[in-house]
């Protein structure tokens, strides 16, 4: 064995490796393969993947799409939009989520059009009856990211922003009502 503060003399490269160390190296390689393999396989077999088509859009184009959605959607008494089709919009802006509140049905897949009119925001969503069931996605201006989602549990889902977007960010909140 050698000292870490002295140059190792002789043929240090060919010194044999301790058996337990070799076993550990094998375990490490195996674990790295599991990490890679499971993650890759899950994109095919799993139901929770942050994957969806992204389009380049300008803020004006995005605003027009959201305005068109709001015009076509029916508006309930509590102010929630009932989407005309399967597309809904959740677009971050300083300091609200445009396109919300919206009311959705359980067991139906909707295309969430995620984006931002101005700066970076963090789309953070959880149901009221179980705060622990939360996921987060990132949105940036100039892009429209279409992520399909389908809720099985009814309830009120709260959307917060978890990327700093200026003073006022603390109050950025929106709601999605999921009903049977």
């Amino acid at each position: 064995m050698t000292s870490p503060i002295k140059p190792p003399e002789g043929n240090w490269w060919d010194q044999p490796v301790n058996r337990r160390e070799s076993i550990w190296l094998g375990l490490g390689v195996g674990w790295a393969l599991v990490l890679f393999g499971w993650m890759s396989a899950f994109t095919r077999i799993g139901d929770q993947n942050p994957i969806g088509e992204t389009y380049r859009v300008t803020s004006e184009e995005l605003r027009e799409s959201v305005d068109a959605f709001k015009a076509e959607a029916e508006e309930r008494d509590d102010g929630a939009y009932v989407p005309p089709g399967d597309d809904i919009y959740v677009v971050g802006m300083q300091f609200a989520w445009d396109g919300l509140p919206v009311v959705l049905e359980t067991g139906r897949e909707y295309n969430f059009h995620l984006g931002s009119y101005d700066v970076q925001h963090g789309f953070s969503i959880r149901p009221e009856h179980a705060y622990s069931q939360q996921i987060n996605l990132h949105v940036t201006p100039g892009k429209e990211w279409i992520v399909p989602m389908e809720f099985d549990e009814p309830g009120t889902y709260h959307v917060l922003c978890n990327e700093f977007c200026g003073e006022g960010h603390e109050g950025m909140h929106g709601e999605i009502y999921v009903e049977d």
């Binding site: 064995m1 050698t2 000292s3 870490p4 503060i5 190792p8 002789g10 043929n11 240090w12 490269w13 010194q15 490796v17 301790n18 058996r19 337990r20 160390e21 076993i23 550990w24 674990w31 790295a32 990490l35 890679f36 993650m39 890759s40 899950f42 799993g46 929770q48 993947n49 942050p50 994957i51 300091f95 984006g115 970076q120 963090g122 953070s124 622990s132 939360q134 987060n136 990132h138 949105v139 940036t140 201006p141 100039g142 892009k143 399909p148 989602m149 389908e150 709260h158 917060l160 922003c161 978890n162 990327e163 700093f164 977007c165 200026g166 003073e167 006022g168 960010h169 109050g171 909140h173």
Partner: protein
């Protein structure tokens, strides 16, 4: 003879006619030019730790909403100050000092291009002050002048002075690193067939990652400036994030490599460890070098516009190359300690080599706690977060904050505290102003900070508490919804965070106190710092040269067969680590699959 700029008697060691002295603890041939700059950068680093610690207190007492110390505007400014002081200034000033130790000091050379060390220091200091200024004068107008936090995400409107100051700082770092790079160059030219010592090799890898990171940073900050002035309208959020995280994560990998290098050094010098396989350890360092910069994209796992294939490639082939390297060091460092101590008769049974180790020595305990806590808390959570799908449950939550407090605080900062203790004893030649408190402080700090990081992770994963906001538990402004359920855990967080900060304050008091009031050590009085059984004996009565310590010299024999030494204690510990890893992985995945369906 004291240096011209000697203050407090800090630069007054005796050197021979050529400017060298021999360290009685390590056997290094120390040149005064190297030692003086190590001291300068080290002391400056501790000042930044103090500043960062003050802001840690205000930030923690704000996130603990029972106290809710600061309003939103102040919170974001204080948070920015805390982040830059700790992650950048404290750590990077220390790393320059560590480069100088790992390079010229280990190799017994003079510091080349001293002008670069001096100018680099001045430029880094200037950059730091300018960054502080640009943060502190933020008005908070969301349309014009936002707090930068650490990341200063384009297109948030941020004072251009901020980006310019960051560039100034990076230029300073480049200059400060130059003497180290030149040392390696000169050493290889003078001794072409000779292998660099492992510690020097590690420091060199850290410097190479630094080159990559600095380049990334210059592009990120330069691009942001160009975008602000209208020259690069295409430099959008996505591009900025990509380039920022090359420096953002690259610097963390530098921290990791620097920390690991220090672990090899201290386990050897204090604990009697040896290198069980130069080949394996060096290969692990090389893996870091090649893979980590690509791996930076694990910060972009849930970003729009990036294909799944690219993200998976990046986080796996690239990152697992780096993760595998960490798994290697996780074994070789304790194994080196175990084999080295068994060889020196300090081992007994499965863990005797560990329990008989010098736990009262803060240089040792800081490194060992760092190894354990970095691995179990920081390492595991890092890999979990880096999985494409699991990232959805971690991104921008407070759990992410818990992760990086486990890596850079429990790992790097704790290790660097040990470095400061070591420099105080062996270079400033001062006794600790209170040896009992110095023994206690790493336990105090490590336990407080570990619980704090754990609470951060709990509120983030169990409650999805967001990061980067000052109120979300008691009340979310403008709505009657809030995540009240997290209040009990936050109460625990508040208490342990204050406890941890107190442990950090104790460190600063001990460090500064020892430098100002510690008793001066004469040569040979550092025996209690040395690995068990070692001692420094002068060669002859009238010579100030010292014998290399016997127990350290035992390590200089590459033919000494490593298979003659047991490593089963380390093996058991690593298996336990892997078991915890697997359980955490399975649990995190299981919970994800219970959520609603997401994605194409």
């Amino acid at each position: 003879m004291a240096h011209r700029f000697d203050v407090f008697g800090w630069f007054d060691n005796e050197f021979d006619a050529d400017g060298f002295r021999e360290c009685s603890v390590t056997g290094f041939n120390v040149h005064r030019s190297v030692e003086h700059y190590v001291k300068l950068y080290g002391v400056t680093a501790v000042v930044f730790l103090l500043v960062g610690g003050l802001f840690a207190l205000t930030v923690a007492l704000t996130r603990w909403e029972t106290v809710a110390l600061l309003e939103a505007g102040d919170y974001y400014r204080h948070l920015s100050m805390h982040a830059w002081s700790m992650l950048i200034f404290w750590i990077i000033f220390m790393e320059i000092a560590i480069l100088y130790v790992g390079g010229p000091m280990v190799l017994g050379r003079k510091l080349p291009a001293k002008w670069a060390a001096a100018v680099g220091y001045a430029v880094m200091l200037l950059g730091a002050i300018l960054i502080y200024y640009s943060i502190w004068t933020v008005s908070g107008d969301p349309t014009a002048d936002n707090a930068p936090l650490l990341t200063a995400y384009v297109p948030l409107e941020i004072n251009p002075l901020f980006y310019a100051s960051a560039i100034v700082f990076l230029v300073g770092v480049t200059l400060a690193a130059l003497p180290f790079l030149l040392t390696i160059w000169f050493e290889k030219r003078a001794n072409p067939g000779k292998t660099l010592p492992l510690v020097t090799f590690g420091a060199f890898v850290a410097s190479m990652i630094a080159v990559q990171s600095i380049l990334g940073g210059l592009i990120a900050f330069g691009g942001a400036l160009a975008w602000q002035f209208g020259y690069a309208p295409w430099f959008d959020a996505g591009i900025y994030r990509q380039w920022f995280w090359i420096i953002g994560h690259g610097t963390q990998q530098i921290n990791l490599v620097a920390m690991i290098t220090v672990w090899y050094l201290f386990t050897h010098v204090i604990g009697g460890a040896e290198v069980v396989s130069e080949k394996v350890s060096r290969t692990a360092f090389i893996l870091y070098l090649f893979f980590i910069v690509m791996g930076a994209a694990h910060h972009l796992m849930v970003d729009p516009g990036l294909s799944a294939g690219w993200r998976i490639w990046n986080t796996s082939y690239a990152f697992y190359g780096a993760t595998f390297a960490s798994l290697i060091h996780a074994f070789t460092i304790p194994a080196g300690l175990e084999a080295g101590r068994r060889k020196r008769g300090k081992g007994g049974g499965l863990f005797g080599w560990l329990t008989s180790a010098p736990w009262k020595n803060p240089v040792f305990s800081t490194s060992i706690f760092a190894i354990i806590l970095f691995g179990f808390l920081g390492g595991i959570t890092g890999v979990l977060m880096g999985q494409l799908q699991l990232n959805m449950s971690w991104h921008n939550t407070f759990a992410t904050v818990g992760h990086f407090h486990s890596t850079v605080v429990l790992g790097t900062t704790l290790t660097f505290m040990g470095v400061v203790y070591f420099v105080i004893r062996t270079m400033f030649m001062r006794e600790f102003v209170s040896p009992k408190l110095a023994t206690l402080q790493p336990y105090f700090y490590a336990s407080g900070m570990a619980l704090t990081a754990l609470m951060m992770m709990y509120v983030g994963i169990l409650y999805g508490i967001p990061r980067r906001t000052n109120e979300v538990v008691e009340n979310i402004p403008g709505t009657d919804f809030s995540i009240q359920g997290a209040a009990p855990l936050f109460d625990v967080f508040g208490v342990v965070a204050v406890f941890a900060i107190a442990g950090g304050a104790l460190f600063v008091l001990l460090a500064v106190g020892s430098l100002l009031f510690g008793k001066r050590i004469e040569s040979g009085d550092n025996d209690d710092l040395v690995a068990d059984g070692g001692s420094a004996e002068p060669r002859s009565a009238d010579s100030r040269a010292l014998e290399a310590r016997d127990d350290l010299a035992m390590a200089e024999d590459p033919e000494d067969p490593v298979h003659a030494y047991e490593m089963r204690g380390t093996f058991v510990l690593c298996l336990i680590f892997l078991a915890v890893f697997v359980v955490a992985y399975v649990l995190n995945w299981y919970l994800l699959t219970q959520l609603w369906s997401i994605g194409a």
